[in-house]
C-alpha cells in the first residue's frame, strides 16, 4: 500500500466553493489564518458566504477582504472587535453576525467534525448567550443544547504538510485548525512546506491525512503572514 497524492494548485483547490457556501477559516488573529486561500477566494468571488472563524482579522487582512468584496452574508465568530468594518457592517445590517463563546465555537466545530449532532453544556446559563437555546436536564443538572457546526469547505493553514494531507501547525497557529479540518465536506490545506509521505513523524501529526482533501503548497509568504506592528 501507498498513500494518495493530494497536491493541488491554489486555483483549483478553491474553485468548488459556490455561491452561498459555508466556509470555515482557521486562525486566531494572524496565526493560522489561510491568507493565500482567502485571497484566491476573493479573486474567484462567490457571494453570500457564511464564514465560520474565531475572529474577523484586522483591517486589510484575511476576512476583511471578503467583507470588503461584499461576499459575506453571515459571520459565525467569537470576537470582531479588531475589525471596524465588520462592526460597522453588522451595525448597518449588511451582514448577520452570530457570536459564540470561544470554547463553544471550538466545541461546536469539533462536534461537527466528530460526527456528533451537538452537546450539552452549562456555559452561558444565566446570561443572554443561553437565550433561545433548548434546555436539557442531564444527571440532575440543567444545561443547554449546543448544535454541531459543519461547513461545505474548510480552508486551513499548516506549517508543514505531506502530500497525503498529514498536517503540522506551528505554535499558537494551531488554534481552530485541527477542529475545522475534521468538520467540512471538503478540506483544503495551504502549507508553508510540503514534503513527501514519510517526511512527518507519525507521532507528530496534528491532523491525520484522511481528513484532508487538497494540499496547496505556498510559495514565499505574503506580508499578511508576518508580525503585525500595531504601535
Amino acid at each position: 500500500m501507498k498513500l494518495a497524492d493530494k497536491s493541488c494548485a491554489l486555483e483549483e483547490a478553491v474553485s468548488r466553493i459556490g455561491v452561498g457556501a459555508t466556509v470555515m477559516l482557521s486562525g486566531f488573529g494572524v496565526p493560522g489564518t489561510p491568507f493565500a486561500l482567502i485571497r484566491e477566494l476573493v479573486r474567484q468571488g462567490p457571494k453570500n458566504l457564511t464564514i465560520i472563524k474565531n475572529d474577523a482579522n484586522e483591517k486589510g487582512m484575511g476576512v476583511d477582504h471578503l467583507l470588503a468584496a461584499g461576499m459575506v452574508k453571515k459571520l459565525i465568530v467569537t470576537h470582531i472587535g479588531l475589525n471596524a468594518r465588520a462592526m460597522a457592517m453588522m451595525n448597518a445590517g449588511d451582514i448577520e453576525v452570530e457570536f459564540c463563546a470561544q470554547g463553544m465555537l471550538a466545541e461546536r466545530v469539533r462536534a461537527g467534525g466528530a460526527g456528533l449532532m451537538g452537546f450539552v453544556t452549562d456555559i452561558g446559563l444565566g446570561t443572554e448567550l443561553a437565550e433561545g437555546k433548548t434546555r436539557v436536564e442531564l444527571g440532575g443538572r440543567e444545561g443547554v443544547l449546543e448544535s454541531a457546526l459543519r461547513a461545505d469547505v474548510a480552508l486551513i493553514h499548516a506549517a508543514r504538510a505531506d502530500t497525503f494531507g498529514n498536517l503540522c501547525y506551528a505554535a499558537a497557529a494551531r488554534n481552530f485548525s485541527p477542529l475545522m479540518a475534521m468538520a467540512a465536506d471538503r478540506v483544503v490545506a495551504e502549507a508553508e512546506v510540503v514534503v513527501a509521505p514519510g517526511g512527518i513523524v507519525p507521532e507528530e501529526v496534528h491532523t491525520p491525512g484522511p481528513f484532508v482533501d487538497h494540499v496547496v503548497p505556498l510559495g514565499a509568504l505574503g506580508e499578511e503572514y508576518g508580525v503585525v506592528r500595531r504601535a
Binding site: M1, A114, G115, F164, M182, P197, G209, P210
Partner: protein, 217 residues
C-alpha cells in the same frame, strides 16, 4: 484457508478503489491486505488510532506499541499517522471512512447487521463495530454463507441483537457475491463450481437472480 475462501477474499479486495480510506475488521477482512499491491494507493485505518497501516509483522520484528484493533502487530508506511481514540472515531462518524469490511453472524435483506452478541452465549461487547457499521460510507460483509450448523446467515430478518440497522451494502461469502438494495438480496456473482440453486438453497431469504450468465470467482 480453503481455496474458495481465498478466492472470496481476493474478490473482496477488488472492492477497494484507488485512494479509499478503509477499515478492515478482525478475521477474514484483515486478510484482504494480502491482495493489495504494494503500489496501490489506499489508506488503511484501524480504530485504535492509526491511518496508513503497513504489513503485519512477526513477533521478532514487532513494536510493542504498534497493534491494530485486533491485536495483530502491524507496521507503518510513509505517511502514517497516529491519533487518539476520539479522533479515530471522529474520522469514522464524520464520513471520512470510505469503506469498512466486517464479519457477520446474520445479515438481513434490508441491510441490518448482527455481528457482536449472542445473548446468553457470547457477549464480549461491541468494541468499535457499531460505529464502523453505522457510519462507514460503504459497508461490506465477509462471511461464510452458512454457519457451522449449516444454517443460513443471510436472512429475511435478523434474530440476534443488531449492530446497526440497514447498513450493509454488499456481502461476500464463500458461495456468492450478494448486493443489498431496496430491501432485497440481489445475486451478483457466484463461486466456481456452484449452481444458482445451491446459493438459493443456502440463503434464508428471497434472492433476486438476474438473467443470463453470472460472473464466477
Amino acid at each position: 484457508m480453503s481455496d474458495v475462501r481465498d478466492r472470496m477474499v481476493a474478490r473482496a479486495a477488488r472492492e477497494i478503489a484507488r485512494g479509499m480510506v478503509v477499515n478492515l475488521g478482525i478475521g477474514l477482512p484483515t486478510r484482504v491486505i494480502d491482495h493489495l499491491a504494494a503500489d496501490f494507493p489506499v489508506c488503511l485505518h484501524t480504530e485504535n488510532g492509526l491511518s496508513g497501516i503497513g504489513p503485519t509483522l512477526p513477533y521478532e520484528q514487532a513494536d510493542r506499541n504498534l497493534i491494530d484493533a485486533g491485536g495483530a502487530y502491524v507496521s507503518t508506511i510513509p505517511g502514517s499517522a497516529f491519533f487518539d481514540s476520539a479522533v479515530s472515531f471522529a474520522l469514522v462518524r464524520s464520513g471520512r471512512l470510505d469503506l469498512t469490511m466486517l464479519g457477520a453472524f446474520e445479515v438481513a435483506q434490508n441491510g441490518d447487521l448482527a455481528n457482536w452478541k449472542i445473548p446468553g452465549k457470547f457477549s464480549p461487547g461491541a468494541g468499535g463495530g457499531i460505529e464502523l457499521a453505522q457510519k462507514a460510507r460503504r459497508v461490506v460483509v465477509l462471511t461464510t454463507h452458512v454457519d457451522r450448523k449449516g444454517n443460513p446467515k443471510l436472512l429475511e430478518q435478523c434474530s440476534l441483537p443488531l449492530t446497526a440497522t440497514a447498513c450493509v451494502n454488499r456481502v461476500f461469502t464463500d458461495m456468492a457475491v450478494v448486493d443489498v438494495a431496496e430491501g432485497r438480496f440481489h445475486l451478483r456473482e457466484i463461486a466456481e463450481g456452484l449452481s444458482v440453486a445451491d446459493v438459493v438453497k443456502a440463503t434464508g431469504a428471497g434472492l433476486i437472480v438476474p438473467e443470463g450468465e453470472l460472473p464466477r470467482f
